[in-house]
C-alpha cells in the first residue's frame, strides 16, 4: 500500500514538468479566445476604459444585435447553403469514385487514384486566376454556385483518399454475396456501401464542412455583392464598416464560429478516428 502510494507520488512528480508545459500552452490557446468572448459582451464605451481581461462590469448583447442588423442572417444563410451543397456534392461524387477505384479491377481505375493524389499538391492560389476566368465565362460570377463548384473540386482528393482507405477494409465476400443474389450496382451502393461508410462519411463531412465554411479565397475572388456574401468575407467587410467598434467585431467572430464548433462537438470521435484512418501509416 505504502509502496503503491510512493509510486503514484513519484509519477506525479515526474509528470509535473509536462503538465506545466501543457498548461502554458492551454493559457496561450485560451487567453485570445477568452478575450474575444468577453470583449463581445462589453459595451463600446467600456471597451476603452476597462481592463481587457476583466469581466465586463455591464455585460450586454447589444453588439450581437448590431451584427444582426448589419446583415448577419443573410451571410449566415449563404454560408450554410454553400457548405451544405458543396459537401453533399463532394461526398456523393467521391463515394461513387472511391467505390469504383476499390472494386473495379482495371489498371485505369487504379491509375485514376494517382491523378486525384496529384490534386493534393496543387496550391489553390496557383489555380485561382484561371478559375476566375472560367467562372466569369460561365456567367457564374457573383453567385453561390461560383463558390460551390471549386470548393467541391478541391475537397474531392482528400475525400476520395479517406473513402478508398476505408472501403478497402470491407470484406470482398460481402460484395460477392450481394452480387450472387442478383443485386445491381445501385442496390449494392445503397444497401451495402452507404451504411458501412457512415464513419468515413461523418469524418469527411465534418472535415470538409469546416474547411468550406471557413474558406476565404474563393468568395473573395468569385463574389462581390452583399447578396452572395459568405461569413468569412462578411467578417472582413465588417472590419471596414465597424472600424473601431471592436466589441461588435468580436461578436461577429463568435457567431461565425458557432456552426463549426457544433459540428466538432457532435462529431469529435468520428473526426479523430477518421483522421487516423485517412492520414495513418
Amino acid at each position: 500500500m505504502a509502496n503503491s502510494n510512493r509510486k503514484r507520488l513519484r509519477s506525479l512528480i515526474s509528470g509535473a514538468p509536462s503538465w506545466l508545459g501543457a498548461l502554458v500552452w492551454l493559457v496561450v490557446v485560451v487567453v485570445p479566445i477568452y478575450w474575444v468572448v468577453v470583449t463581445s459582451v462589453r459595451s463600446q464605451a467600456n471597451f476603452f476604459v476597462e481592463s481587457p481581461l476583466s469581466l465586463p462590469s455591464d455585460p450586454q448583447f447589444g453588439n450581437y444585435a448590431l451584427v444582426f442588423e448589419m446583415g448577419f442572417p443573410r451571410y449566415f444563410i449563404n454560408s450554410t447553403i454553400v457548405t451544405v451543397v458543396a459537401v453533399a456534392l463532394t461526398l456523393f461524387v467521391s463515394l461513387l469514385a472511391a467505390y469504383t477505384i476499390v472494386r473495379n479491377d482495371t489498371p485505369l481505375a487504379r491509375r485514376s487514384l494517382n491523378v486525384f493524389l496529384l490534386g493534393l499538391a496543387i496550391p489553390v492560389q496557383a489555380a485561382i486566376i484561371p478559375i476566375f476566368y472560367m467562372i466569369t465565362r460561365m456567367r457564374l460570377y457573383d453567385s453561390l454556385l461560383a463558390i460551390i463548384l471549386p470548393s467541391a473540386a478541391f475537397a474531392i482528393p482528400i475525400t476520395i483518399i479517406i473513402f478508398t482507405n476505408f472501403l478497402r477494409d470491407i470484406p470482398a465476400e460481402l460484395f460477392e454475396s450481394m452480387r450472387l443474389d442478383g443485386a445491381g450496382e445501385a442496390r449494392i451502393l445503397w444497401k451495402l456501401v452507404l451504411p458501412l461508410s457512415v464513419p468515413a462519411i461523418s469524418t469527411t463531412a465534418i472535415y470538409n464542412g469546416v474547411n468550406v465554411w471557413n474558406n476565404f479565397l474563393f468568395p473573395l475572388v468569385l463574389t462581390q455583392s452583399p447578396e452572395t456574401r459568405v461569413l468569412p468575407l462578411a467578417l472582413w467587410t465588417f472590419q471596414g464598416e465597424l472600424t473601431i467598434n471592436v466589441p461588435a467585431m468580436m461578436a461577429a467572430i463568435v457567431l461565425s464560429a458557432i456552426p463549426p464548433l457544433t459540428l466538432y462537438i457532435v462529431g469529435r470521435r468520428h473526426l479523430i478516428a477518421g483522421m487516423t484512418a485517412g492520414f495513418g501509416k
Binding site: 493524389l117 496550391p123 489555380a127
Partner: protein, 301 residues
Amino acid sequence: MTTSDTTRVRGRRRVGPSLWLIAPAALLFVTFAIVPLAGAVGLSLTDWNGLGTPAWAGFENWAAVLSDPITGQTIVLSLKVMVLSWLFQTPLSLLLGVWVAKEGRARALVAIVYFLPLLLSSAAVGLTYKNLLDPNFGLTASSALGPLNHNWLGDPRTVLVVVVAIIAWHFVPLHTLLYQAGVRQIPKVLYEAAAADGAGALRTFFSITLPQLKYTIVTSSTLMLVGSLTYFDLIFVLTAGGPGYATRILPLHMYLTGFQAADMGKASAIATVLALMGLTLSLALTKLSGFTKMQSQQTGL
C-alpha cells in the same frame, strides 16, 4: 488486402462497378483543379486586366516577373515562413501530441480546448489578432503589460515572427491531433519492455516514441511545408503583406498583382512559379522520405 479476391475474380467475367462512376468526380476535379493549372501557364503569356479579353503578350510577363527584385524577395520570404513555421510547430505539436495521447479525464478535456483554434476561419483568427495586438486598444496596450506594449504588426522587425507565431496558434491543433493519433498506434509492449529494462521517461521518449513516430513526422512535416506555401488568407487579413513588403509572401504577391493591380498576366506567371514550388516540394518530400503516398496540404485551404 483484397488480392485473393481479385485473383479469384480473374478468369471469370470481369465484375465490378462501371468506370463511369468515376466520371462525375473526375469531371469536377479536372475542370476546376487540373485545367486551371494549365490555364495559369496560358494566361501568363497574355496581357489581361481581368475584365476584357486576354491578348497575346509572349514572354513579356515572364521577363517582367523574373527581372523584378520583388519576386525574389517574396520567394525568399515564403521560404523563411516555411522553415520558421516548421521549426516552431513541429517540436510543439509533437510534445503536445505525446502529452494528450496518454489516458486521463483531465488530459482529454485539455485536448478538446487545444483543438478550438482550428475551428476558427483564417479570417476570424486574423481579425482577432489584428485587434488583440492593436497598439492603442489591444490586449498588449494595457498598462499592466508594459514591456509587451509594442506595435507588433506594424514594426517590420517583429512582424514576421509574430505572423509565424499566429500561424502556429492556428495550425498546431491539427498537427497535435496527427501526433496524438500516431502515438496511440505505438504498440504498448514496447513501453512495457522499456519499463522492465528500467528506462526513464526521457530515454523511453528518444528510443521508442520518437523513432516509432517516423511516419507521422513525415506526414505532418509534408502538410506543414507544402501548406505553408498557401498561408494566404490569414496574412491577407492580418497585414495585407505589410508593413511595406515585410510579410508579402508569394501567394499574396500573386493576389495583389492580379486582383488589385489588375495585371492578371503577370500574376499568372507568379502563380505558375507558386505551382512549380508546390509540386517540386511535394515530389522532393515524397522521394526523400520514400513515401509512396502524397499527403494532403489542405491545411492551407
